[in-house]
């Protein structure tokens, strides 16, 4: 894991569409069960549960993805209009960042 080289995602504002992001693998351990993703945040002793679309985004981020790629994932996987997908990806990434689970790759 390139943990040493990854920086926490910056704290302010919007996410740059082409900047690659990934999950903090040291902090969050997770497993996919059926259509859901369950996560344990070891630092804060918190369980996280992700719904279908959330899980899909999570899995992409595990391998590293840009916000644009995440939007494309939702558009192709769920046939959501791009505007809606963009907003939802933005909100989701904010939620992850607030929990300190995001790194810039």
């Amino acid at each position: 894991m390139n943990g040493d080289l990854d920086q926490p995602a910056e704290d302010e504002g919007m996410f740059e569409p082409h900047k690659r992001l990934k999950l903090d693998g040291d902090r969050a351990v997770w497993r996919e069960v059926g259509e859901e993703v369950v996560v344990l945040d070891v630092e804060t002793a918190t369980y996280l549960s992700l719904n279908g679309s959330g899980g899909a985004l999570w899995k992409r981020l595990d391998a590293g993805a840009t916000p644009n790629e995440l939007v494309a994932e939702l558009v192709s996987g769920y046939r959501v209009p791009e505007a809606r997908a963009s907003k939802d990806v933005e909100d989701f990434l904010h939620a992850l960042r607030d929990r300190s689970l995001l790194l810039t790759a």
Partner: protein, 208 residues
């Protein structure tokens, strides 16, 4: 406050439903449940009931008759029936939900807007998703593998014997077999029944 009552013969499930709905529905007076039709009618005579959640399958009383008598006390009573199988025939004046509906759907019908509290609720397993057998067919097969007769399976699942026989025929046809034993063997081997499926789920991420 509007009054909601629960009819369910099994005490554990009755108390669970009551506890759960009480917590979810602040705007209702959720009465401690009643066990059977007689109890429900007695209650309807002494109190004004607005909503009732009742069993519709495998009960010894006529649900349509019960619904009629309850309406006599309160014509605008809302009746929600929990059915063991989705193919339960419609009953006049009763909104049927399948038992897998659970608290969310019942609460949604009675009073929209609530939160699920158990952290991880898994609504599927990959084995069941890939199986050619329906949920009901799997359950029938599981009980047959215990050595139960068609009559016993029907009683346990609250179905008619005809429905169980029909499920058996469908199972044999879908699995391409001609005997119960062969059906069980196929389903176990394919991982549609039992824990073989667990090891076939793709593991990703770190193991806790």
């Amino acid at each position: 406050m509007p009054v909601l009552v629960i009819q369910e013969r099994r005490r554990l499930y009755r108390e669970s439903m009551t506890a759960c709905l009480k917590r979810q529905l602040d705007a209702f007076d959720v009465i401690e449940g009643v066990a059977d039709a007689a109890g429900l009618l007695r209650l309807a005579e002494s109190r004004h009931l607005d909503h009732a959640v009742i069993e519709v399958d495998g009960v010894s009383w006529d649900v349509a008759v019960l619904a009629g008598r309850l309406r006599h006390h309160n014509p605008s009573l809302q009746l929600i029936g929990l059915a063991a199988s989705v193919r339960s025939s419609a009953i006049e004046g009763v909104r049927i939900l399948s038992r897998v509906a659970g608290p969310d759907q019942v609460a949604e019908l009675v009073c929209p807007g609530h939160a699920r509290e158990v952290p991880f609720v898994l609504t599927s397993s990959s084995s069941s998703a890939s199986s050619p057998l329906s949920g009901q067919q799997l359950r029938v097969l599981a009980l047959l593998s215990l050595g139960m007769t068609v009559a016993e399976v029907a009683a346990r699942l609250r179905l008619s014997e005809g429905a169980v026989t029909k499920a058996k025929v469908a199972i044999f046809s879908k699995l391409g077999v001609q005997s119960q034993a062969h059906a069980v063997a196929s389903a176990l081997a394919a991982g549609w029944l039992g824990p073989a499926a667990a090891s076939s789920v793709v593991l990703t991420g770190e193991r806790l």
